[in-house]
């Protein structure tokens, strides 16, 4: 009996973020008064939109670098690719392929740069990545507002600012909108399944499963657990960490392109910022920790976070009679969950240290037991 309770307790404490989120969602769904079909069809759409981005976080977590907030760099690369695709007026799926081909080398370069920095900031990867994201904002704005337009001429009026200097604040992605989603869109009842997007996501899952089996994947797992040991075993720790970040950045680049083709609209200078927060929230809600993440975490996380995003504003309106409060609640939950997960991570580390310490108590525990009898 106690064993069972213990097990449940451990299960709950290990999955507390997921459980809290599930509970919130279950409360929010009936209050939102939204129909099941609406929520589901929206979920399908959002799933296709954002799960690729979340996958970008798996490898750095595996390599012990925590949540890669610097994936914003990859998203930026994807947006640069898209800017060129729009400016050159490449339409449909070809436009997306074109954007990817341009974005990938940029993201590899940025990822390599980011990896170098993170290697110099060991143990503080997450906050460094965060700051790198802000830094990248500046570089990207310089690129978008100065380099584009003055050094690289913009061809299309739709891309250029009115005064000709740089890229517009908002970029309509009409020509590539749904470029991937709508190649084959399977209609089942009220639901539309973007088959090709799902296929791409499935392919990525297969890649990640395969990658875990490779030597590089094994090395990442090793350095993720014990950098010192891996180093003394001859694994090039620095290089492996850089590779993890490079792949993550590359995936973020592709993920952002998939995301934006679904959104159909791009805020040239701010869209990339959201990528990091959302992906982090999703993977943490899915039950990942900053040291462990699986494909399953991604799926559960995307599913739950979006369920809440869809229902919370309306549920808030229903509960507090104010649409604003629901809106604030989603914001609050979004960032709250990241904080909670990070705090829990620290707490878990301490608990594990406590457990390990319990093993030292040999004599004292015996004495205590003896005293009881």
């Amino acid at each position: 009996m106690t064993l069972k309770a213990d097990k449940l307790g451990k299960f709950l404490s290990d999955n507390i973020v997921t459980v809290i989120f599930l509970a919130l969602t279950l409360v929010a769904i009936p209050f939102s008064r939204l129909s099941g079909t609406y929520i589901l069809s929206n979920l399908i759409d959002r799933f296709a939109r954002s799960s690729f981005l979340v996958f970008a976080l798996i490898l750095p977590i595996m390599a012990g670098m925590g949540i890669n907030f610097a994936m914003v760099l990859g998203a930026t690369a994807g947006q640069i690719g898209l800017i060129f695709a729009i400016d050159n007026n490449i339409m449909g799926v070809q436009g997306l392929v074109y954007a990817s081909l341009l974005g990938m080398p940029i993201s590899i370069l940025l990822g390599w740069f980011c990896g170098q920095i993170l290697n110099r900031a060991r143990g503080r990867e997450m906050v460094t990545g965060f700051i790198l994201g802000f830094f990248m904002d500046g570089v990207y704005q310089f690129f978008g507002l100065y380099v584009m337009g003055w050094l690289i001429p913009i061809k299309t009026g739709q891309v250029a600012q009115i005064d000709g200097g740089g890229v517009r604040n908002t970029l309509g992605l009409e020509s590539v909108r749904g470029g991937l989603d709508k190649i084959i869109s399977l209609k089942i009842g009220p639901f539309a399944f973007p088959i090709v997007t799902f296929a791409v996501i499935a392919l990525l899952c297969v890649f990640i499963i395969w990658f875990r089996k490779t030597k590089l994947g094994q090395d990442m797992r090793a350095i993720g657990q014990e950098q010192g040991v891996s180093h003394s075993a001859g694994i090039n720790v620095d290089r492996t960490r850089i590779l993890a970040i490079v792949i993550s950045t590359l995936l973020a680049c592709l993920g952002q392109i998939i995301y934006l083709q679904n959104m159909g609209n791009m805020f040239t200078y701010t869209s990339q910022r959201q990528a990091g927060y959302f992906a982090a929230a999703a993977i943490l809600v899915g039950g990942a920790t900053v040291t462990r993440a699986t494909i399953k975490n991604v799926f559960i996380g995307v599913f739950l976070v979006h369920s809440l995003y869809i229902t919370m504003p309306l549920a808030g309106k229903e509960l507090f009679d104010s649409a604003m409060i629901g809106q604030y609640m989603s914001d609050f939950i979004n960032f709250g969950i990241i904080s909670l997960a990070l705090v829990l991570h620290a707490w878990r580390n301490r608990r594990n240290a406590d457990l390990a310490r319990a093993g030292l108590r040999g004599g004292a525990a015996l004495a205590a037991a003896g005293g009881d009898k």
Binding site: N88, I90, M91
Partner: protein
């Protein structure tokens, strides 16, 4: 680096470039300005190119529609009280925009597409 891996890497690079060229050449968008200035027909027409969402063109006006790639395109013209017209046309090579005058279209005849400068028309 072994010879084999050099070949494979070379092939990959070639593929990369080839895909880029493919995306550029088949994905490049061109603008077709559909003019509805047919004195014989009074009223608006609805035009759909390559199965895209139909667009309404009012009488005396024109609408710009994006098409993907040069090559041949299908056009469907619908107007009230008349049978739908379905035809094909080729986009004039080496131009970025072209005008298609609905007035010139008669069943069976070739569709006339003339290159134009996009800057003088609606973007």
């Amino acid at each position: 680096m072994t010879k084999r891996s050099m070949i494979v890497r070379g092939a990959l690079l070639a593929l990369y470039i080839a895909v880029g060229i493919w995306a550029y050449s088949t994905g490049k968008g061109y603008k077709i300005f559909v003019d509805n200035t047919d004195p014989a027909v009074a009223g608006a027409i609805t035009v759909a190119i390559d199965g895209a969402t139909p667009v309404k063109v009012r009488l005396g006006g024109y609408t710009g529609i994006m098409v993907k790639g040069t090559g041949s395109h299908r056009i469907k013209i619908m107007r009230e009280g008349a049978p739908d017209f379905i035809g094909e046309f080729r986009f004039p090579p080496e131009s970025t925009a072209a005008a298609l005058a609905v007035s010139g279209i008669r069943p069976g005849s070739e569709i006339v597409v003339t290159p134009v400068d996009p800057e003088t028309r609606d973007r």
